[in-house]
């Protein structure tokens, strides 16, 4: 699977996102305060603007399929505030909307994205 070099880790301030351009596609990449990395589409289908990388990261507790409480991390769109699960791209406010989510890893201090 093709690997894309994105940027040095330090280009992403902890607990914020940046937007990367991969083969013409806009992808929002997030770094949490624990230095976990996530990537989903940057396009917000509700506002039809490329803005998700600029949203705030939040956490909420949901009941997962196994019936257990689970904390999920999400980004809230800066335009109309819909929330998207960072790990899966699933919109938490509209079950019918799911964005693509991507594998993002750290190679030494470089953020890498897989397979777009």
């Amino acid at each position: 699977m093709k690997q894309h070099t994105i940027c040095p880790l330090n280009d992403i301030l902890p607990e914020t996102g940046v937007c990367a351009l991969i083969d013409g596609k806009q992808i929002a990449i997030f770094r949490t305060k624990k230095n976990d990395l996530f990537a989903i589409d940057n396009y917000d289908p509700f506002s039809q603007a490329n803005v998700l990388s600029r949203g705030l990261i939040g956490g909420t507790t949901i009941v997962n399929e196994a019936g257990m409480d689970e904390e999920v991390l999400y980004v809230a769109s800066p335009i109309y505030k819909q929330r998207f699960n960072l790990a899966t791209g699933q919109c938490l406010d509209d079950v019918d909307v799911t964005l693509a989510a991507y594998q993002v890893t750290l190679n030494k201090d470089t953020v890498m994205l897989e397979g777009v």
Partner: protein
Amino acid sequence: MGKNGTIEKNAVIKNKGNLIVIGNGMVGHHFVERAIEQGLHEQFEIHVFAEEDRPAYDRVYLSSYFEHKDASKLNLVDLSTYESSQIQLHLNQQIVTIDSANQSITTASGEQIEYSELVLATGSYPFVPPIAGREHPHCHVYRTIADLDDILAIAELPKVKKGVVVGGGLLGLEAAKALVTLGLETYVVEFASQLMGVQLDASGGEILKRKIEALGVTVLTGKNTQEIISHTDSASDADDTDDDARYLTMQFADGTTLDTDMIVFSAGIRPQDAIIKNNPECGIVMGARGGIWIDEHCRTNADHVYAIGECAVWDNQIFGLVAPGYSMASICAAQIAGHNEQIFTGADMSTKLKLMGVDVGSIGDAHGTTEGGLSYLYQNPAEGIYKKLVTTADNKRLLGAVLVGDTEDYNNLLQLYLNDIDLPAHPESLILPNVEKPMMGIDNLPDNAMICSCYNVTKGSICSAVENGAYSIADVKAVTKAGTGCGGCAPMVKDTVSYQLKTLGFEIKNDLCEHFTYSRQELYSLIRVHGIKTFDELLTEHGHGHGCEICKPTVASILASCWNDYVLKPELTPLQDSNDYYLGNIQKDGTYSVVPRVPGGEITADKLIVLGQVAKEFNLYTKITGGQRVDLFGARMEQLPDIWTQLVEAGFETGHAYGKSLRTVKSCVGNDWCRYGVDDSMGLALRLEDRYKGVRSPHKIKMGVSGCMRECAEAQSKDFGMIATENGWNLFIGGNGGITPRHAELFATGIDTETLVRYIDRIIMFYIKTADKLQRTSKWRESLEGGLEYLQAVIIEDSLGIVDELEAQMELLIQNYVCEWAETINDTEKLKRFRHFVNSEQGDDNVVFVTEREQIRPATDSEKSAIRVVELA
């Protein structure tokens, strides 16, 4: 159910009789919805015949058509629901006869259709008095979208400048508003001696008249129109001769005349009963003054024939409101489905509405005609407020009320009236201003008290919905439909839900979010008392979980209000929402607005030129704001640092248009230039804006300073308003122009500038400390127990002994001010973030502008695809 589904299904269809509905107005459509709910579409083949060429639309909001000119916004019918329930809607089809003996109807085109059940929902038609000349093409009625299109077409003729509405009732005033919207010089001509004679008494009608005249409409009462004389030729020839020539002249019985270009008749409605009147042989009984007679089950005297809405007469009454029509529709659908427990028992005709911006309410016996009834009056001619209560002779029960200019008491009074609740010892206290009003608590209402009259939802049904798990207002609305009609009952729905939650033992929590079990005020105290400087510190010590888009910006705002650190310090940056993060307001397409401070709107020619140059260089949309500043729109994120570098260099500072902080201090020119100016409003405005710039608060703050009582700066609509008098400044607080506009209250009079500044320091800090998240000063002031007097005691008399502390804390914020943009453009690390892509210098290709009125605006979706096609080609 048989074994072979197909055969049985066919068999059912074969046996299906026709349920025919004549009329697809609001009530006819409501009937169809209720019929589907009752499953009648499975029992019958439903055919709906409409005379108009479009499905049902909202006539209550008809006037809004003149503002948006989009008929689809009024549409009530979801055609896919009609389709999936196999309801056949026949538009443009008039029904001309009913044969009740053979159970059939005939269409205008001669087609005969049998019915098993027939529902007449033919509504009403506008009454046009028989005045000679009323056939002129510039004479219209106000009833359908087609009528509105005709009115619009005439109003757009270049010579048409003036319009007259005949009829000063509810609909007539609606029509008058429409003519005003169309830019016509507008007259209302009423036959009776007052406006809204049905709902209001003479004094109420007089106040309403004065208020409407203040809006530029001329009201002529006691005018009996005898003839309409046409000057069509002279008016059309007038192009190059006499610009004042009008199309029509109205001749009144008193000998006077009125020239006009168009006439809209709105003199009441009559039941649309032609189908019965023209076919007496059908044997269906009519009311004494027209209309179709029905019993309490909405049945006419003919078997299987029903009538509902404005065409129906029940107990000699016709109900010209939509709510009783909806009740009839529900009852009729239930009746046909075999449930006859619901009956129609009349309807309360109380109304509350806004006519041309004037609040009007009428309850029960507004004219006080009940024998022995007592009337209580309150009149405030200065503010145009008139209130009247009519009670029983023993003072115990409310019989009626009239409210003009202020309908705040309406819901309370209506519940007292509808539920026959004992009045307080002094009924006049219910309408007097500035007294503690005995409010109708939800707990005092009986279970059958009607909360939402559009959908007949009682207190009992809301309470049981809550009991069954609808714990939020949204859930209650979804389950009961309460509050989804006209919306007037929304506050009561909310109170009822809270009441029931409390009754069930729920605690109404004021937690900020799932990460903090504290309110904003409590978090403020924790941060202040423990000297907390970061979000993580607060979360570790006093919260749990990760944090979210609610608590992060709130805490960022509190931290800024306490310590005023630069908001883009690395530990504070991730807390800021997009506006504070990029120091600009994010707009719908993801671009930002740039708003430099222009204190008091005072700007040198050189600075003005710089703004123009920057706007031109970066191709920004430019607009002078309502707050005396210049907005530059359409800046891409990556352009912001370059734009601000130029602006800072020219001496501009950030205007904090993106922050919950001081926005502008609007000002008039004051005694420097103005011949009426009493004091230096410009000087004070500049001083205040400079003093409080950048101070973060629970909500944005606006101020206004007027140099004299003429109030050109509209200071009383601001959070803080200052008006100069001969004796010093008058300070007003708690006004705003937001969703719920509120006039500011007079806080202190005749104070000098130093005292004024001290008071404002204290009030802002006290507001910051005690307000809720995103609570405006107006709501905050209303939430203070003890009201304005309490606030005056705290701020002026120092009743809590905290004013020194408040002033010192404000002083700290002022000392720590830096221009966030000046700081940011000098920090190369910070500038890195102003790139759309972390790995490319390109911009966002989804940001596309088109030109309108010589400036840019975001392209719509269809425009974007069109632009792309052109680019590819």
